[in-house]
Amino acid sequence: MSDLFPLSVSGAQVRRRGKVLVGPVDLTLQAGGVTIVVGPNGSGKTSLLKMLHGILRLNRGGITWACGTEDAQRRQAFVFQTPVMLRRTVLENLIYPLRLLNVPKAQARQQAEDWAARIGLSGAEGRQATVLSGGERQKLALARALIRKPDLLFLDEPCASLDGRAMREIEAILQDAVASGTRIIMSTHDMGQARRLADEVLFILHGKVHEFGPAAGFFEDPETPQARAFLNGDIVE
């Protein structure tokens, strides 16, 4: 299997109804580590992630994966800010992505049970996913994304509106994933979380990449006044 990265983005832009959601973006991402996307509300974090993931079709520019787009799309997963639960049981939600890959039923079931246990839902496998709490849903969505062993995982503010305990559990799962070689690109508005997880930071403003570099440099000595203002907690326009 060839490498996903480097990923090169050149002049990529998404417009909907005459409004630019994100772009033009020029960017090169290398293999390995955690990239955290930060920026004020409405700056285009979600659109950037969805564009890279291929859910939002480009109006201009291009995205090039080292291994080719078709292969790349099979090897990545996405966890949405508001988790989408299939109207099925917890176990069936976990089995679903495996069955798409034609994993035999018994094997899929075994893996699903293992993951349910890992996210603390082993007693709740038969419950409808739609009646879970917010934290449980987000953990389930994360497990459902990771169960296919993606090489790249996108997460869009996965911990928005979660309590500390759920956040810690999710971060632990993410760190395990990173340790086993999963590349992570994640947006967050929680600077504490960004500092804990980030290897590199991508600061986005008005749909454009404003600053991009190693995490340590960004948090200690941001290059642009807007990034500095953002880190200070000022309102950035």
Binding site: K50, I55, F80, V84, Y96, L100, Q128
Partner: protein, 234 residues
């Protein structure tokens, strides 16, 4: 009013004595409408799913036409099917006119738009919910359709029951293409029309009550079957 009580009494006696003619036309009603329902679902449900999932030219027009066809008078459907199946028509050689098959064809045409329209509404809503997830999971068109159909099966059951209701109570079309032939194509609704024509209101009402009871029984049975299937999970 006395006719109403006579009707109830007639219905009671017809059922209690298991009147042979009543059993025959009731079974034929069920046979025709359930066959039509199964065929109509096989057409309408995938059609509704495709309309929800795919973007293609004329999609909106197709949906508008389906919605409009929901209100199509059965008599018109009956006439059109008659013209096609008549010996003088394009499918005359098949000799299907005045057979239960012709009645099934007419009912399929009547209930497909109804089932497809109702199904499309719930499938479209579910697709809006699942859209990003299923695209993210790199699903094929077929997998999306399968997932939508399976996960909205309760709503689809309601759509199918609406189709059954329209089919079992329909008289205009099957009268024309079936001919209401005794022991061949007579069903509950055409028998009711016949008895009304003879002025036998109480017998007609009695048959009407049997029809209502049948519709309720089928609805309950299907709900019961679908309930035990996912017992303890909902």
């Amino acid at each position: 009013m006395s006719e109403l009580w006579d009707g109830i009494a007639q219905a009671f006696w017809l059922i209690v004595t298991l009147d042979a003619d009543l059993v025959e036309i009731t079974l034929r009603s069920l046979q025709v409408t359930l066959t039509a329902l199964v065929i109509a679902c096989l057409i309408a449900l995938p059609l509704a799913a495709i309309l929800s999932v795919r973007r293609f030219p004329f999609r909106r027009i197709t949906i508008a036409v389906l919605n409009a066809l929901m209100g199509l008078p059965p008599v018109v459907v009956g006439l059109i099917v008659y013209v096609f199946l008549s010996r003088a028509g394009p499918f005359g050689v098949l000799g299907l006119l005045f057979t239960p098959t012709a009645m099934i064809i007419a009912q399929v045409i009547i209930i497909v738009p109804l089932i497809a329209s109702i199904a499309h509404q719930s499938l479209r809503d579910l697709w809006a919910e699942y859209h990003d997830l299923l695209i993210s999971m790199n699903t094929t068109q077929g997998q999306r359709i399968k997932t939508l159909l399976w996960d909205s099966r309760r709503a689809l059951l309601t759509a199918a029951l609406a189709g059954f209701g329209r089919g079992i109570g329909e008289v205009g079309a099957i009268m024309i293409v079936g001919g209401n032939i005794d022991h061949a194509t007579r069903v509950l609704t055409t028998a009711i029309a016949l008895e009304t024509g003879k002025g036998n209101f109480s017998l007609a009402l009695g048959l009407g009550f049997v029809l209502i009871a049948l519709a309720i029984a089928v609805n309950l049975a299907i709900h019961w079957l679908s309930h035990t299937e996912r017992e303890g999970r909902w």
